[in-house]
Symmetry: C3
Subunit: 116 residues, 3 copies
């Protein structure tokens, strides 16, 4: 199994899994109940930090899936997202409103794949 | 970064990202407010055109995630989907009803991974 | 096209697609209308069996996306999920509540990528 790297493994999920040069990451907000601006900043800051630690960075994201609980949050999320992404490095991106996230105080969850 | 190809990059998303022989694509309808048949045709036509341009084609799709805003649209979407896919080339496929897509007139969004 | 393996191909989807050492799988419950415990067991048993048949196993999952129709089912799903995963092998995982799945009696759908 040494060909698969797992980081931050719990019984339920891993913070990051790396295989064949591709990193899989999912992040949720630290501040349950906060507004979309803070929650998006928290999620992106954590994703960026993890990418850096894994030998990648925010210029190397391949695909993002952004789950929002309220599309009225899309402008606030997009403002943070666009400020966070270096020019020319946007990934393919799906963005959908879901009926709920695992914590009722979360407004956003982001899944990424990135190249190491 | 020359190992990652990005096509149609904006500040928010790329139309397509290619890495290590795998293409990531997400598409939404051109005709906001149109019915599911037209919207599905538009999305699939665009995905097919992009796959062709990237040196792949609709026989080389690995995984599809289909987001619908109304499951009553599933039969209409499936009819277009099955007509579009060459025999024997269907990908793994998740199909879910979401609470909303970024434009209220969109009824479908499709994310694909494909092999070049 | 012999570089892409497809298993259980219908006009609409494949049970599994393998490319470049990565397996894509999506599974839904056999027992429409059953409770979350049985539906989760069915989905995980099928995924495990398919992984085994494809030369992988449940210790080699890279990323999971779990779609639930009711977050009240999350504890029941998580109990089955954690019992099913061998220690130290949890994947990156997104878990969201959707507005519906293709069969109104399904409470869960799981998409996986795994390493062969």
């Amino acid at each position: 199994m040494s060909d698969i790297e797992r980081h931050g493994v719990t019984a339920r999920y891993a913070d990051a899994v790396v295989y064949n040069g591709v990193i899989h990451l999912v992040e949720v907000p630290a501040s349950s109940g906060a507004d979309i601006t803070l929650q998006t900043r928290e999620v992106l800051a954590s994703l960026g930090r993890q990418l850096d630690e894994l030998g990648s960075d925010r210029t190397r994201i391949l695909m993002a899936t952004i789950y929002l609980t309220d599309l009225a949050d899309a402008p606030g999320m997009n403002a943070e997202w666009e400020a966070w992404l270096p020019a020319g490095s946007a990934p393919a991106r799906a963005c959908v409103q879901v009926a709920g996230l695992a914590d009722p105080g979360w407004r956003i969850e982001i899944a990424l794949t990135a190249a190491r």
